[in-house]
Symmetry: C2
């Protein structure tokens, strides 16, 4: 039984803290951490952890214990967030059904709440209420929105809480099972920030599925001060069933049509194997490649 979790924390600047967490997870098991992505401007770190459920849960506790002294109210960053341990997605990898993982994650969420007293939203496949099913619809509206929620509409309150619906310093945490997604950033040539950011926002609006754009695509545009670069940041849902190569080409075309030039991209986390097979198939016009045919030779 193998699962993936991709905890996002609202801290991407304190490298000493981040490296210390990385070391602790690696000392648990050197294969657990598949990727760590942090960013000054987003001020966010994304851990990609794959392993047996017990080890994955333990890794998340290591992360949580190391950030519980932070304060979400002091957090500055371009990425939307409403908690220090902002979101903890879970994805089945091998020999485990969505149903079973949902039950395990329900239990994990309860133990997480009991340990840290952080109110939990169960989202996406773990959701109990339609209004809190989609992470972005709540989280992206920000802290003040969450704080006001219970007064306005009980459907919006967290699924697990007791004394308060927003932890005074740690905020709330979204926990849920979801299919794999690809988090991918397009960093743009930025000779003129305002102009490029406006155009990137226009592109983000147009490609977003929720606006009738590209199926499975979520998109936001940011200005990264530390890099003096505008970034179009996308999530591609249903990543293992999606033609990401085609989506990538569509987005690059759309960028170019708007006079935007791609400088480089960043992968946040991991790629599903089907995507790698898809790239090789498209680039080489070949039908007989699978990831099982990759051999890693020693250097």
């Amino acid at each position: 039984m193998l699962i993936e979790s991709v905890p996002n924390i609202s801290e991407g600047r304190n490298l000493k803290l981040i490296n210390s967490i990385v070391r602790k997870i690696k000392s648990l098991n050197s294969y657990l951490l598949k990727d760590i992505h942090y960013d000054y401007d987003h001020n966010r770190s994304v851990f990609t952890i794959v392993g047996k459920p017990s080890m994955v849960f333990e890794s998340i506790h290591i992360i949580a214990q190391n950030v519980i002294n932070l304060d979400i109210n002091n957090h500055i960053g371009v990425h939307p967030r409403t908690g220090i341990i902002d979101v903890i997605p879970f994805i089945p990898v091998k020999n485990i059904s969505y149903q079973k993982l949902i039950r395990m994650v329900d239990k994990f969420a309860m133990s997480f709440f009991r340990k840290y007293r952080i109110p939990v939203y169960l989202y996406y496949l773990s959701a109990r209420k339609e209004k809190t099913r989609v992470l972005g619809k709540i989280r992206n509206k920000g802290i003040e929105f969450i704080k006001r929620l219970s007064l306005e509409d009980k459907e919006f309150i967290p699924d697990i809480f007791e004394d308060y619906i927003f932890h005074p310093t740690l905020g709330v945490t979204f926990i849920g099972v979801r299919p794999p997604l690809i988090a991918f950033n397009f960093n743009l040539h930025t000779p003129d920030v305002e102009n490029v950011l406006n155009k990137a926002r226009k592109v983000a609006n147009e490609i977003r599925e929720s606006n009738g754009g590209i199926k499975n695509v979520q998109a936001l545009a940011f200005f990264l001060q530390s890099k003096n670069t505008v970034q179009l940041s996308i999530n591609v849902l249903e990543a293992d069933k999606t033609d990401f190569f085609e989506i990538f080409q569509k987005i690059v075309k759309k960028l170019n049509e708007n006079g935007l030039i791609l400088k480089e991209t960043e992968l946040v986390g991991c790629f599903p194997s089907s995507l790698i097979e898809n790239i090789v198939k498209n680039v080489f016009k070949t039908n007989n490649f699978t990831i099982e045919k990759i051999v890693k030779f020693q250097k």
Copy 2:
């Protein structure tokens, strides 16, 4: 300790025989056989085997034992060959030096000779004589050349033999350690066989390193009767240190300049992980992908 071997046999039409070999290797260990590639026109099968040395050697004996009743004199196919078990390359994969593998392969070659009485050329890194170091320079000249060799120049005779330098039915076998290579076929749109084959031969001549073409590239052009298709077949040497993406693009450009159109490609065997990283890096303009970031999700 992990090694790769890519035995090529001069039999690609008898699917019953090939499938029976595949089953026998898999029953030894289900992970050993990374790929099997066979082709009617080449009349050749290429097994890609990765595992512990003892298991890899055992797999090769399984293959050999299953083809020792064939006769190289009856073989028909477009691919150059001088033996039923034509060539057995070995490549270090993990925790083994070239030096150590060369010594192991020397021993394997002796036991191979003692068992099947097939004269053995030790080639490439295992070579003992400069004139028999490069496989293509001898093998590609054909059976008659090999048979005539000892009369003309002792430097050309096999490294291991006793009563004859060419086994009456099994020919000779090339055994040697070499770095990883990529075997890759470009199948071309073939409206007019003669014209396309001539052009493909011209391209093969031009891209071949030995003619001053592309570094690390070996190339041949074939007509595949069963597919009514002309094929440009290449080997890329030093595969793990080579920019195959660039080579691929150069060759496609050269094909197009000569009025040739790529229909599809075929990978023979496996790709080194560095190549996959290279493709992703080039296609997505990204610097932060490694194959460790591939997650294989269950279907």
